[in-house]
Symmetry: C2
Subunit: 336 residues, 2 copies
DNA sequence: AATTTTAACGGACACGTGTCCGAACACGTG
DNA sequence: CACGTGTTCGGACACGTGTCCGTTAAAATT
């Protein structure tokens, strides 16, 4: 059970531990025969370096903190797989924390990770992270931070984002081409940049096709199934006239669809629905949901590569990576 | 950016670093005034202990490895939330690794975690983990391991499991009471104990109600949506007579439902379907899926408490915790 | 053969923390 | 005043690793 140290090897061979260290690290000041003798003995005794000692010595934890707002949808687990894919191969571990969509927990998570001396932070903010002063403070002290997905304009770090504007515009256009004319957008908090851009993309598409674009068409909602349900119910109660919905996320779209189905409103015949990424439910629900697909795994890889670069080169030039996606047409938006 | 050490505080106050250490740890050999002076200075200089040094000194990483077979369904993320809930409050971090349902990757994950000197391991095995010799080896060396959910009978460690037998029996009985008579079980690998118990529970319920129970009724399938689809297609091709399905997991049930819907076979009128935990999709699909619910969060908490106990008391008495759940009746199994 | 160069290794130190032991001093008691 | 007792602190050491510097002995040069 006890760990074999280089001192144990040294004692066994009656040499100094510094010699063993040189042998294992393939340094100059060492005779070939000695080196081989040491390597053989190390193998024999089942030696492997104590990571704690190495971390203390190099003053580097080889840990990267990952903070995500939630764990309920498939989106963040998928991104984490991408992050892990890159970081593990480079000898880093990741510490994952989730904020439960609560900015208070989020800040506590960041503090915990920082006190545990992670070498860097990859973060996607909660919906209500107005106050990013703590992160800003860290960033100013040259602490490596990479934001992804839900990023803040107030925080100048490297970012990995999706081209929300273009794809929201594209998704809206798809509805227009299918003949829908009175399209609503179920929107969420403007504090999250991606929501803002999706809304702008929506508006732009309507204007380009000279369709009406009133304020009522932007329905305040949120990112969850519950938010979608509530917004849909409110719209139905108000007797608003509409024939399609472009929702800010898949869960929002799903919530809306569930309420529509309860009211026996046919999809896509009477109302067309298009969602946006973030959920695997979209393929299971009936009718299948038309949606923009984000490259989640690649997003994780990109974020990981950026943080590694920042840590290992120690130069901080914030760069923004914008990824593209693809459009998956389901039955929820295609009239026969 | 540089970390403030107790030596820095000592230098500042012109005392020995050992005195500072005593003051901060509230040990006896210290005068009150000195202690207060040190605490004040520490606060002032923004001191917090270097976790790496502590880990090296105590030969303890305060990290717990968590290995799960997949990340695609909500089940494991939910369990991890429970694990985190307990461990974070006790000063431990968790390193999460996923095995992608591959026993080779699984073993490599375990190795990586062990070489990083995690203090213990919480693990749920992949579907094909026949060979648990590496884990057995660790366990024999008194390395703390707790299994949950997918456990192996070949490995004697503490375990947190669900009472699969009872609840599978209960779920099957529900179908029987609804008047279904020719019930199939979509099963998965017998290497996973929970699959075995769910199958046994199914058989037991049929026998108790004196219903036919042939080998054909046990349909070999798997744990994923794809497995459910394939098995369902095979059953339909074979023209087997049946009126209900009890599936080993929710994804399996969902796959079956999707194929049934493609063939315009009405659920629950012509075929009733019941699933088993592990997915949040069940509430979204139409008709909503009747399913056994496991207390995922509590399962994580229980596993975390067991591992802490094993680490901190250093006595190893394998104990098995069996959790109960509840039964959520949806529309997929209720005939009007 | 005397001197310089080179190879190979041992010992000391450092990272930040915690603990053990002994020293210094104050205080009380005989 | 001498001795014992208790308090408070400094110094040395340890955890496992890596690096620097100095030392030794052998090889190469003059």
């Amino acid at each position: 059970m006890k760990h074999v140290s280089i001192k144990d090897i040294a004692k066994e061979l009656s040499i100094a531990h510094s010699t063993v260290s040189r042998a294992l690290n393939d340094k100059y000041d060492i005779k070939k025969e000695t080196r081989e003798k040491v390597l053989k003995k190390a193998e024999e005794m089942g030696y492997y370096p104590n990571p704690m000692a190495k971390k203390l010595k190099e003053n580097k934890s080889f840990n990267i903190g990952v903070v995500v707002p939630e764990f309920r949808n498939a989106f963040f687990p998928d991104v984490i797989l991408g992050i892990q894919d890159v970081l593990l191969s480079k000898g880093y571990q990741i510490l994952i924390m989730q904020s439960n969509e609560d900015p208070i927990i989020e800040e506590s998570n960041i503090r915990t990770l920082h006190e545990n001396m992670v070498d860097g932070l990859i973060i996607s903010l909660t919906a209500d992270s107005h106050n990013v002063s703590f992160l800003k403070n860290l960033s100013n002290k040259n602490f490596p931070i990479v934001q992804f997905n839900r990023v803040s304009d107030k925080l100048e770090t490297s970012k990995v984002v999706f081209d929300d504007y273009t794809w929201a515009s594209f998704a809206t256009e798809h509805l227009i081409k299918q003949g829908y004319k009175k399209i609503l957008h179920f929107a969420a908090s403007q504090d999250i940049a991606l929501c803002k851009y999706r809304e702008k993309g929506f508006i732009n598409a309507l204007k380009r096709h000279k369709l009406p674009c009133n304020k009522e068409q932007i329905v305040p909602s949120g990112l969850t199934i519950e938010d979608g349900k509530k917004a849909m119910e409110k719209v139905l109660e108000s007797n608003m006239d509409f024939d399609a919905i472009f929702a800010v996320t898949d869960p929002t779209a799903l919530g809306a669809m569930m309420v529509l189905k309860q009211h026996k409103i046919e999809i896509p015949e009477r109302v067309g629905v298009v969602g946006f990424s973030e959920s695997r439910l979209s393929q299971v629900i009936e009718p299948s949901l038309t949606s923009v697909k984000q490259p989640t795994f690649e997003m994780g890889q990109a974020a990981a590569n950026l943080i590694i670069q920042e840590i290992e080169t120690e130069v901080k030039v914030p760069q923004v990576m914008t990824l593209g996606g693809n459009f998956k047409v389901g039955k929820s938006s295609v009239r026969l």
